[in-house]
Subunit: 208 residues, 2 copies
DNA sequence: GTTCACGCCGAACGCTCGTTCGACACCCTC
DNA sequence: GAGGGTGTCGAACGAGCGTTCGGCGTGAAC
């Protein structure tokens, strides 16, 4: 139905605008009046698309988490080599991050702003995503010798270096997201299992 | 003068209580009434110690940044070996972080909430601190072979894995801050200059 | 015994917040 | 052309916000 599609498109645009403002000013500092002004809709008009400000934040977080999860599963599907699986995970994460900077900043920075059912549902996705990386690390250990550091610490350290980029990285600057991904893979793998990554051991990074 | 000292002590207690609440609820979600309730002072009584809510946040950030900066300078003073300097930097950072979890979460999470002069002053300290780590990395490169990744990326990656801990680390859990520091040093050095850190190359970590 | 700064407070001000409500124009269906 | 769902709006509500102000008790200074 055309109605439904137009409705969804407008909601998407609204969420995108909201994410932009949330990323810039922060969730709690942003008023519904700000969002109305920025998205070209009246204050009360917002409530036709969204039940509350909370739900707005939830929709941004839930949709983007779902997208990065799906994208990650597609990127790693069928890849047998654990190191390459890891590289694809990292690449996918940074790639999505860089091309949805505002949304991902909201995801990383405002994760504590949700409550109740909304929080539970987003946390479930977060748990799945974290688990996926941890499983890859377990595979890497199996094939590339013992880990030099605790797996849980390694997992969160890797997420830390990736997610922190919203504090400093400029997608339009001179550092490409490919270099970023390759760098973090090297940094991580070299320390985690002592892998010498100075040479081209990550073929897919150059192959596209 | 005894008056001044008592005043300062009360201000310190107030800042500590405020940092605790800010860390839990966030800066903007916390009202001055919340702080009054939590610190046992009346709402208007707060304004005897502090000019505004903004200044309260600034004082928390500025004082703790100054403390971690001074502590870092003391920890690295006189240490010649670049790798050990790096290890001490990391240890100091994580140590201060773990023992001032609330304050450091405020520092990491609410860095964008300041404006104007307050922002400028905190950013200056942040720049100094970042520069200090970058200089250590330059020394490490000089003595331990060429870097495998861009120095700027490496710097922020290391800060990322360290600062991210406020999202997952429990100082009272079974992971000690010593293990945390050692792990992140290994992780970083192994990937940055290909240093094999599986054996005890970081003497001070076990020596205290 | 008066003075005065200090530490602290209750009450209030003006403002902004998220949300609701009733209404209006539009367009498709019959 | 009547009816009803869809999309949008201005105006208003009650609540909570950061901040201010006048005043009160206390203890040291003279």
């Amino acid at each position: 139905m055309a109605h439904q599609q137009a409705h969804d498109e407008k909601l998407d645009a609204l969420l995108a605008a909201a994410a932009r403002v949330f990323a810039q000013r922060g969730y709690h500092e942003t008023s519904m009046r700000d969002l109305a002004r920025e998205s070209g809709v009246s204050l009360s008009g917002l409530y036709y698309y969204v039940k509350s400000k909370d739900e707005l934040l939830f929709l941004i977080q839930d949709r983007n988490f779902a997208a990065v999860l799906a994208s990650m599963e597609e990127a790693t599907a069928g890849v047998e080599n654990p190191v390459e699986r890891l590289a694809r995970f990292v690449d996918n994460h940074l790639d999505y991050f860089a091309s949805h900077m505002a949304e991902m900043k909201v995801l990383s920075h405002e994760s504590g702003a949700l409550t109740g059912d909304f929080l539970t549902r987003v946390n479930a996705k977060k748990r799945d995503y974290t688990r996926a990386l941890m499983d890859i690390l377990a595979d890497v250990e199996r094939t590339h010798g013992p880990a030099h550091v605790n797996r849980r610490i390694a997992t969160y350290a890797l997420f830390g270096m990736m997610n922190w980029i919203y504090n400093w990285y400029d997608p339009l600057g001179d550092l490409s997201v490919e270099v970023l991904g390759q760098s973090m893979c090297r940094l991580f793998l070299g320390g985690y299992v002592g892998m010498p990554v100075s040479d081209a051991v990550l073929p897919h990074l150059t192959a596209g």
